[in-house]
Amino acid sequence: MSTPAVTDKRAGSLRGASLPKWFPLAVVVGSVAVAVAIGLGAGLDSKVQWGLIAAVLAVLVTYVVASRVEGRRQAKDRIATSLVWVCFLVAVVPLASLIWATAKRGVKVLDGYFLSHSMAGVADTEPGGGIYHALLGTLEQVGLATLIAVPIGVLTAIYLVEYGRGGLAKAVTFFVDVMTGIPSIVAGLFVLSFWILILKMGYSGFAGSLALAILMMPVVVRSTEEMLKLVPNELREASLALGVPKWRTILKVVLPTSIGGIATGVMLSIARITGETAPVLLLVWGTNFINTNPFKDPQGSLPLYIYQQYANSSGSGAAYDRAWAAALTLIAFVMILNLVARGIARWKAPKTGR
């Protein structure tokens, strides 16, 4: 209640048609101070509320003051500016908290021992153990899934862009869309019935890879398709005009031109499937021991490890520590993939000639 009066005085001293540059900053500082005062005074224990009060105050004060001093159009502009800033801050808080919490709690047990040992013989409630088996399993499963999904995905995209016409192409386009909507657990169930129950293969890393590949394929097709479409037709025409066969044109001209974008798409899809828990739970099954062979017997997996440490641990601190450390490792892995993807994209960005 008291803020408008306070800032009014400040604003009152201005005689120009526009507010000074420090005005937004002053409003922010002022409303945060008032919000803290209200929060302390009213005994609100949630910092979230303090933040909300400050945000509402800042927007209101900005509007009131600006509309008086600068007129309605400028006031609307100011309110939009402050709303955009508020949006940004509102989003930053939880996202920063996520990264902060993971980093802070993750580093507790994350060390060389943790990365190079399995959970063999360590009860979930005890400290110790590591994620080596899970890390190895995830790398192998994701690698195999990539090996399956990328050739099929890229070839399908080539078909759609370079050859596709008529009913088949339309059907493929439509079903690729449908496929993106498959809930991951459903893909897991499908492979479970088909691979394990009908073909009688046991749980293995490879079974998980099959499900992950199903989830990965449509993403690869989509992103590759978009990238191939970006290749200027002049390049294709020039190559064909020189008498180069179409398949060589695709392999030597179209693909190299778009390889950066395709690689980025693939990397991002890898990042996406790396975090899948449900299909892995059903198919790879998890183990506490190191199993380097993805084709036989259960393996570990990082997302599964996080889930199990969270769910099976009777809430013991040691297990939570391990879960956070594994989460940090997983995020770091995804981040490295992301960086690599960006590097490739920048390095091989298609020269569009614009």
Partner: protein, 335 residues
């Protein structure tokens, strides 16, 4: 995916039925190398179709097995007990919970995401927007299990105060009253989902806003428009359908989210009037929760609910695609 619009003027084979594509394909197919390559690429397309067909057949088959034996009504029963004789289960609660939590997530995430996208493209200092864009890209790829872990151990304890406050001031509305249980309700799920889909919507929206023709903005500025008026008159109309399709993508992810929901919700098989009271459930969460102890029949029933989720997601994605396609035409005309 939105970058395609840049090159519409170069007439890429967006419409593969065009005469150029036709001619090339027929002439190319005469060489052996071409035939092999065409065969390979068409083969992988067909393989994809076969996989899809197999999944569809499998889903419907097992779902039909379960629904036939359902003693309750599959659409309206407020119960999920496949162990009973005869079994009783229905998706009413799950459909309600899925829709409500997704609506909450969208209502929270879309405005904020658009705000951030505008911030990054039009407000933030250059030096700041690059790194922030990268961090948001990264967050889009953070595995959902990590969001779940964070949600259960960090977010939920922090919501107690907020819920009490909402109950104090808005409890009279009925939908925001709170009985004082643990804050593990559909609203919590909505908030967590909003945080999860925020990066996705922001990313796509940012790309769209970036493609607004410079000329439009400069023209508006030249007429003396304020920054907000520029955005309202040239940026938002251009980006509207892009933002809608981005939101649909986010919605698709929110609908199918499993682990994160399972960790922060207190699922019960009834529908509560208040968003703050624990209860409800979602399709994906229910599958994950019930699957472990399910008998083969129980699994069939869960697959039936998975099929419903699948159809819903399909509709949402289809809508998104339609809107994206329409936008292509729109922006093509303006480029």
């Amino acid at each position: 995916m939105d970058t395609t619009t840049q090159h519409n003027d170069a007439a890429p084979p967006l419409t593969p039925t065009g005469p150029g594509a036709h001619k090339r394909a027929t002439r190319g197919a005469t060489r052996p190398g071409d035939r092999i390559f065409l065969g390979l690429s068409r083969g992988s397309g067909i393989l994809l179709l076969v996989i899809m067909a197999a999944i569809a057949v499998f889903l419907t088959y097992r779902a039909a097995l379960a629904i036939n034996k359902d003693d309750g009504n599959f659409l309206t029963t407020f119960e999920w007990n496949t162990g009973l004789l005869p079994p009783q289960f229905g998706i009413a609660v799950l459909a309600f919970g899925t829709v409500v939590s997704s609506i909450v997530a969208m209502a929270l995430a879309v405005p904020v995401a658009v705000g951030i996208a505008l911030f990054l493209t039009h407000y933030a200092p250059r030096k700041l927007s690059g790194p922030i864009a990268y961090v948001i890209d990264l967050l889009a790829a953070v595995p959902s299990i990590v969001y779940g872990l964070w949600g259960a151990l960090v977010l939920v304890p922090h919501l107690n105060g907020l819920y009490g406050w909402l109950d104090d001031y808005f409890g009279w509305t009925g939908i925001l009253s709170w009985q004082g249980g643990a804050p593990r309700s559909l609203l919590t799920v909505g908030i967590l989902l909003a945080i999860m889909i925020l990066p996705i919507i922001t990313n796509v929206s940012r790309e769209v806003f970036r493609q607004v023709p410079q000329m439009h903005e400069e023209a508006a500025l030249a007429l003396g428009a304020t920054r907000w008026e520029v955005i309202r008159m040239s940026v938002l109309p251009f980006g509207r359908s892009g933002v809608i399709s981005a939101s649909m993508l986010g919605l698709g992810r929110a609908l199918g989210e499993t682990m994160a929901v399972a960790t922060v919700l207190s699922p019960t098989f009834d529908i509560k009037a208040s968003l703050l009271d624990p209860g409800g459930g979602t399709f994906a969460q229910n599958i994950a929760s019930k699957f472990n102890e399910a008998t083969e029949f129980g699994q069939d029933a869960l697959i039936a609910s998975g099929l419903v989720l699948f159809v819903i997601t399909l509709l949402v994605n289809g809508a998104a695609r339609m809107i994206i396609n329409r936008r292509k035409e729109y922006s093509g005309a303006n480029a």
